[in-house]
Symmetry: C2
Subunit: 743 residues, 2 copies
């Protein structure tokens, strides 16, 4: 543990804290009456006394002592150790096993074959001062899981981040990746989008590297001198087509138990079409240096000491990948504490336990906070304060290759989860700085109260206050900066994908949230062999200071949801955010319309043609279909209906009327109204019509995705239908809320 000695600056910061922010949040708790609030707060204070940073630190060291991906020896050991801990705290524990496909690399070869020869090392170097980096027995080498195998040879084309906009730019240079190998930077989109789009454009292979401008010596000193990515570090990661469906690639929609029907691997649509390999910037440098063709656009430049060129070629590479397509067992640890009053209402709290490597930050830092929280909750129960609702802690396996453990469990238990699950609360790797909460907006008001009640360990203000301050200064738009100052609740982010909440929220329609701290814990260890205890405890959260805060935070969220007599679900925060999304989409359409009109006019006027440099191959863009006007009225009418119902319900909820069993059932199943069994266009697994990961962004969220993506992808004939569908789910939710206010 290496906590920096508080410096003189601490005193300075503390002196700046406005008095008002210290006495915040003694308002009654949402869902409790005054007396209940006092009791709950007393419980939470007691809860805090059971959080033990030193113990978290020991667990962190233990669980991250070796690589522990799904199918590894250490992975199974960790699952067993976690189960044992839960048992020692009197949870009912089950290890839920699923048999899933998990590819491990057998052959990884990458060679520059012309104009000069270079063989990529594809290895990460052990570093002085971090013993874990020499303890790599079962560590999988850098690869992208669910890349197809194969051997390809071709010229390189530099595709920047490999996003749709990047390919539009390449087209202006007259460059196609068809028959070529795309080399892409990490970033700009989720990694799985890069081979997906490259394959759609005809590429025969994809390389992905971490550019040092984004993730290396650009942002800061590299490991072990600093936390950032050194020249041998490689980000592993899954490239399965998660925006189509996550989880086991062979069993979409059903739990991958031993006896279930499976697709043939060849038919699994979420395995990539072309081979893809992640490499270090040390291995990328000779490849990029050997490229010719036009110089890249200014915004595409990276941080290597070369001129970046688009190609194609003359650099020509051979890429050979072979995988062992193993069936492995994913071990989900499921620990249940029966509710004392409402055992059929389940609050589910999860964090995965598998890592790509030692996985100290990702996921163990979050996992140990959850364990600490679970232990504290059991201590309260032992003292006679068992949760009113059933609390289920889940330590997921196989999250890294594609949210597999959580997805299979959620698919397996879908019907009962839709009947019983109150909410799913997720954490993953944790860091230092500001609280981040993403989730269903029916929980926005609830989480604001939690944020206001947890103290930031570095400044003493509430984590809400610190986040608000950060938004007031650093938010990207004046609108958000002003809103941070003036809106009483901070907005929580809509969820896309990237961790285990996805099957709960987007497949089952269970209100979900994802919580963590970050902003001051930059670094490049993510999915590299450097994600070790040594790295984490030196550079990310020395002394588990924010680990404790996360346990306090997620613990309060869990406890309050478990104990609140009336579930703290609010529809005004939800409708206010939906109103903002509708605004955004209208603005998007309007901006696209104006931009398309301007571009087309400029193309028609020959304006693009005459400004080009005739010695370069850069050409004008192609004209696009004009953007029609859309009828957003159905969406707005449904929103109005919802706003009105939400206001009526708000009157009831704040009247102090006790909640009936029916009330709470209607409340916690309300999120189900936002899903449709048919799912989204072209990806039926995703059933939520307000939140989805972007089909061409991956983790990045698309709110009201049917409408937004139809417009973004210029599928104008689909917009009206999608507006109707989104309006329908809003209307259904409004009807549900009216039921709550009714007799």
């Amino acid at each position: 543990m290496q906590i920096k000695t508080p410096s003189i600056r601490w005193a300075f910061i503390i002196s700046l804290i406005p008095i008002s922010s210290l006495s915040i949040a003694q308002q009654p708790l949402f869902g409790f009456d005054t007396e209940g609030s006092e009791e709950q707060r007393r419980l939470e204070a007691e809860f805090d006394t059971h959080i033990d940073r030193a113990e978290m630190d020991r667990w962190l060291r233990e669980f991250s002592s070796e690589a522990h991906h799904v199918g590894s020896t250490k992975g199974k050991q960790n699952a067993q150790a976690i189960a044992a801990l839960f048992r020692s705290w009197n949870y009912d524990v089950e290890i839920a096993e699923y048999e899933v496909l998990f590819p491990e690399p057998r052959t990884r070869e990458l060679e520059l074959v012309s104009p000069n020869r270079f063989t990529a090392s594809l290895i990460e170097d052990a570093v002085a001062g971090d013993a874990s980096t020499s303890n790599i027995d079962e560590l999988l080498p850098p690869y992208n899981a669910f890349s197809i195998g194969g051997e390809v040879e071709g010229e390189l084309v530099f595709v920047n981040y490999g996003t749709p906009a990047d390919y539009e730019m390449l087209e202006r240079y007259g460059i196609s990746v068809a028959g070529k190998i795309a080399i892409s930077k990490y970033g700009g989109s989720w990694r799985g989008i890069k081979p997906k789009l490259a394959a759609e454009k005809g590429a025969i292979g994809t390389l992905i590297y971490s550019d040092p401008a984004d993730d290396g010596y650009g942002p800061g000193d590299v490991y072990p001198e600093g936390p950032y990515k050194n020249d041998s570090g490689v980000q592993r990661g899954s490239v399965m087509d998660m925006p189509t469906y996550p989880g086991d690639v062979l069993t979409p929609g059903v739990g991958a138990t031993g006896d279930v029907g499976r697709l043939n691997r060849e038919d699994a649509p979420t395995i990539t079409q072309i081979p893809v390999l992640p490499i270090s910037y040390r291995d990328a440098l000779p490849l990029l240096e050997a490229m010719g063709g036009d110089v890249v656009p200014e915004q595409w430049r990276g941080g290597l000491p070369i001129t970046y060129h688009l190609g194609p070629g003359p650099a020509r590479v051979r890429l050979k990948l072979e995988f062992d397509w193993n069936m492995v067992t994913a071990y989900n640890v499921i620990a249940r504490m029966e509710g004392s009053q409402f055992p059929d209402q389940w609050v589910i709290r999860g964090n995965h336990h598998d890592g790509w490597n030692h996985g100290a930050a990702d996921p163990v830092s979050g996992l140990v906070a959850m364990l600490s929280e679970a232990k504290a909750l059991s201590r309260l129960a032992q003292a006679g304060n068992a949760p009113a609702r059933t609390v289920i802690y889940a330590a997921w396996d196989a999250e890294e290759p594609g949210l597999i453990g959580s997805t299979e469990w959620a698919e397996h238990h879908g019907a009962e989860l839709q009947e019983h699950a109150v909410a799913y609360l997720n954490t993953d790797g944790n860091g230092r700085g500001f609280v981040n909460v993403g989730g269903s907006h029916v929980l926005e008001r609830f989480f604001n109260q939690v944020m206001a009640d947890v103290q930031d360990p570095q400044t003493g203000v509430s984590v809400q206050e610190r986040r608000r301050a950060n938004l007031r200064i650093n938010a990207g738009s004046e609108k958000i900066r002003n809103e941070a100052k003036n809106r009483s609740d901070l907005r929580i982010s809509p969820l896309g994908s990237g961790s285990d909440y996805t099957p709960f929220l987007q497949h089952l329609g269970i209100a979900s949230a994802n919580m963590g701290f970050g902003g001051h814990s930059g670094g490049g260890s993510y999915h590299t062999m450097y994600d070790t205890y040594e790295h984490y405890s030196k550079w990310i959260d020395p002394g588990m200071v924010y680990g404790e805060t996360l346990a306090q935070f997620a613990g309060r969220a869990t406890l309050r949801l478990a104990n609140a007599p009336r579930l703290p679900i609010d529809f005004q925060g939800f409708s206010d955010n939906v109103a903002a999304y509708i605004d955004e989409i209208e603005t998007l359409a309007e901006d696209m319309r104006q931009q398309t009109e301007t571009d087309n006019q400029n193309i028609k006027d020959g304006v693009y043609g005459i400004i080009l440099d005739p010695t370069k191959s850069f050409g004008p863009p192609l004209a696009k279909a004009e953007v029609p006007y859309f009828n957003f009225a159905p969406l707005k009418n449904a929103l109005t209906e919802l706003e009105s119902a939400a206001a009526s319900y708000q009157d009831i909820a704040s009247s102090g009327a006790p909640a009936t069993a029916r009330d709470n059932y209607l409340l916690y199943t309300s999120e189900r109204e936002l899903i449709r069994q048919q799912g989204l266009n072209g990806r039926p697994w995703y059933k939520h019509h307000i939140y989805a990961p972007g089909f061409y962004t991956g983790y990045g969220v698309k709110t009201i995705p049917g409408v937004r993506e139809a417009i973004e992808q210029r599928q104008y004939d689909q917009v009206a239908g999608q507006i109707e569908l989104a309006a329908e789910v809003l209307h259904n939710l409004a009807t549900r809320v009216e039921e709550l206010s009714g007799p």
Copy 2:
């Protein structure tokens, strides 16, 4: 000569040219009647036949065969050769000599002395394929002219571009340059600002290097593989405090003839206070690599393969500079062709002839276009079409060290120039791409007609049309993009400084302009030893294609000003631009007011304090005085008066009424109304109250500088007074324009 073969793209581009743009501009010429317009256009067509690209190319090769800075053998030879050419074309030629101070480096030493040792080479490498880079007998090594000499040793502090905003940022890190050596990137401001500000902040020395992200392999392939700066290239350049006064440092305000009184060198205020040396990125790398302290802010990062740190230290350098402070002779070649009708009205046309080195691009590419133009003009005269007004061609010496040749001549002949000069038209190095015109806005309408009448050699559309197209696509704001589409005249840029127009415009109040082409001729040869004939003719303007276009363009401007019966001066374009500047300044004040209010509120609320990372030294900003409201009414009232007078004059000018001698005198001396003998606050040499180089930007213009800089520098008590002064010059101009419309 290496002109790229027109590719298939050419045909494509030509096919995009709208028909309308080809038949533009047969409207009557501004200042001529219909018949006079036809005759003038016939003359111009004949003029064009005398422009000879091959001859320009020979001159380019000859004048740039060796280094030819002021005081050099080749510099004097060039002056004599230029004079001989003018004589051969029947000009009255004088070589106007001035005795000026010019420092040449005797000792340049730069060493890293700790934590490791490194001695900077400070030399530029000869390259294969460019014989000029081995022909460097009198070439001055890289240095900054008018740096003071001295030996200093100290820790390095990285100051980004060394602008006022950069020092504000450093203050937030608690870092001062006092007693340290500042290392700055080139760019962000004129180079002379860097040591000026560093010295104001207490630094003992300054290093300036070209970062490869800005000027090296970042933008493109480096010389000789491409046009960009290789790792040994160094930008030379003057660092005299030109925003205080340009020209000979010992003779401010008067011509540096042999017998004039001179300051002692120690008293010359425009020599730097601290030693300053420019270096290559090859020499900068070990220095920057040895630095520690905080990592730089994201926007400060450069393109070297290291993490950039702010310091101070531990890198410690020793810098030793010694100069020979020589008195040298500047040879201005002044060639006069007497006007046939108005010999007392002078149109002055200039380009400097001295270079820092071989100077192919800067300045010979512009010089040879001017020579070609002068030859063509003499051919017209020989054929009986001598200019109506006197035309004076000037090839200036000693521009590079600080506009010395032109400034001394303008100071020396100030009174007669103010009496006789109709306009000063400047060119300097030329490139390929889009026309750029900066100048007095009374000439905006005039130059738009010239732009519309000259064809772009690559696309066949007028250079106005091509520039308009570029603005429609690439202008930085939607306002400017829309304006480019809709405003009939393209705006010309206001002039700051950076070439020889400054003494004419800003000291004497002579309407001036600066013309050239660029945008497709990027490269890093500027002020390095690589500014050679070989570089220029391969990478910048192969075949002098745009050299010919510049001669056509500047030739038309010169000829029309010389021949127009009514001088083509327009006050509506001027007042429209002044209105925009007043708007800008009001917006500036309003934005500063709101930003200051927000910042102060955030500081007061402790918001900055609680978001900081306590493990870093970055702190909150300091509160600033609130920005008061200013009374802009006097400026706007004067503008209204001017707008009204300009409209009345427009009626007269467009009525076709013949101009009297008095009319033309009132017209061409109207720009004098914009100067005040007292000059600007703190820099009396600069007398123009609408255009000035920024005191803390250098070349960058500040319009209505008294008002704008008082606000920017937060000297609020001076704003009202400066508004009165600016209103006064506008009122004076309005009165002058009323005189023109009067009886």
